[in-house]
């Protein structure tokens, strides 16, 4: 299934709104196991996306994903910049020949794994992206997929990223990148009308 340009834009706009309204929640999660700025960083990226959309209306899905990627790469500042940025840049490249939603999310996931040199189970955003990608493929994507992904992420001990310095103490805390990724996919669910 392909998302239309209008729906893709709506998806990103809903994500922007969600991150902006949950900025302090993301900072709080990051304070527990990181450096406390995930909300502030992502919020800066969201404003850059809004700016970029208002300066130049994306004319197709390829350019929309690319616009999102560059805004995040240039403005986020923390590790989530190159991570989300790579995901959206790879999705943009893929969309040139295949804009199927499941394929795009899988492509973004592969980009995250490459850039972060990480995999599922390390207490990162991948813990949300992978189950969502799998659920889309199986045509079983719904809110419970996201909820379960967050629950299992919370229980993990971090082995990647700054939280890994905390070892066992990272257990019981939700990874902030997993939470912002959950917002991304909740926005997608809204657009899909599920």
């Amino acid at each position: 299934m392909e998302l239309s340009l209008a729906d893709t834009k709506k998806w990103i706009e809903l994500f922007v709104q969600k991150v902006e309204s949950e900025k302090s929640q993301l900072n709080e999660l990051d304070t527990a196991i990181g450096d406390g700025d995930h909300g502030t960083n992502m919020d800066r990226g969201m404003k850059a996306i809004t700016d970029a959309f208002s300066k130049k209306e994306p004319e197709d899905i390829v350019s929309l994903h690319k616009t999102v990627a560059f805004a995040l790469i240039q403005k986020v500042g923390g590790a989530s910049g190159p991570l989300y940025g790579t995901a959206f840049l790879d999705m943009s490249k893929k969309a040139k020949d295949d804009a199927d939603l499941t394929t795009l999310i899988q492509t973004g996931l592969a980009g995250l794994k490459r850039r972060g040199q990480s995999d599922v189970g390390m207490k990162t955003m991948i813990d949300v992206w992978e189950p969502v990608a799998n659920a889309l493929k199986a045509d079983e994507f719904n809110q419970s997929v996201i909820d379960e992904a967050l629950t299992s992420n919370k229980a993990l001990v971090a082995t990647k990223g700054r939280a890994s310095y905390l070892e066992e103490k990272s257990k019981g805390h939700l990874d902030p990148g997993a939470q912002s990724s959950a917002y991304l996919f909740e926005a997608l669910l809204t657009v899909l009308g599920a």
Partner: protein, 122 residues
């Protein structure tokens, strides 16, 4: 010169400090830095890295970084540019210092990399 040095840090002060330090050992070398975010805060900036790569006059670049997003932004840059950039997962200060000392006397890459090997920490 064959090689130039690139320092990428989350902090502008660290990047400039490392440059000042290694300049002592390598006054002829092209050493460029990308420290902090675009607005001078703690973080890393692909744009700053891009500028530092463009400004570097080495034929090839030996790149050193500190933490997670510096590394990821550096890797993005490597994927985007045609310039040959060698990235080293070594202790920033010691690694950059050793590489600069050797590059200054035009040591071959093989020698430089052999010296960097025991400094690998990430």
């Amino acid at each position: 010169m064959k090689y130039g040095i690139l320092i990428v840090s989350h902090s502008k002060d660290i990047a400039i400090g490392v440059k000042k330090l290694i300049e002592q050992a390598a006054p002829k070398l092209s050493i460029t830095t990308a420290g902090g975010t675009d607005d001078g805060e703690i973080g890393s900036s692909l744009e700053k890295i891009q500028t530092a790569v463009e400004k570097n006059s080495g034929d090839e670049i030996l790149a050193f970084y500190d933490l997670g997003s510096s590394k990821m932004n550096l890797e993005m840059m490597i994927e985007m540019t045609d310039k040959k950039i060698h990235k080293y997962d070594v202790a920033l200060v010691e690694g950059a210092y050793a590489a600069a000392t050797l590059a200054e006397i035009e040591s071959p890459l093989e020698t430089i990399e052999k010296t960097l090997e025991p400094l690998k920490i990430k």
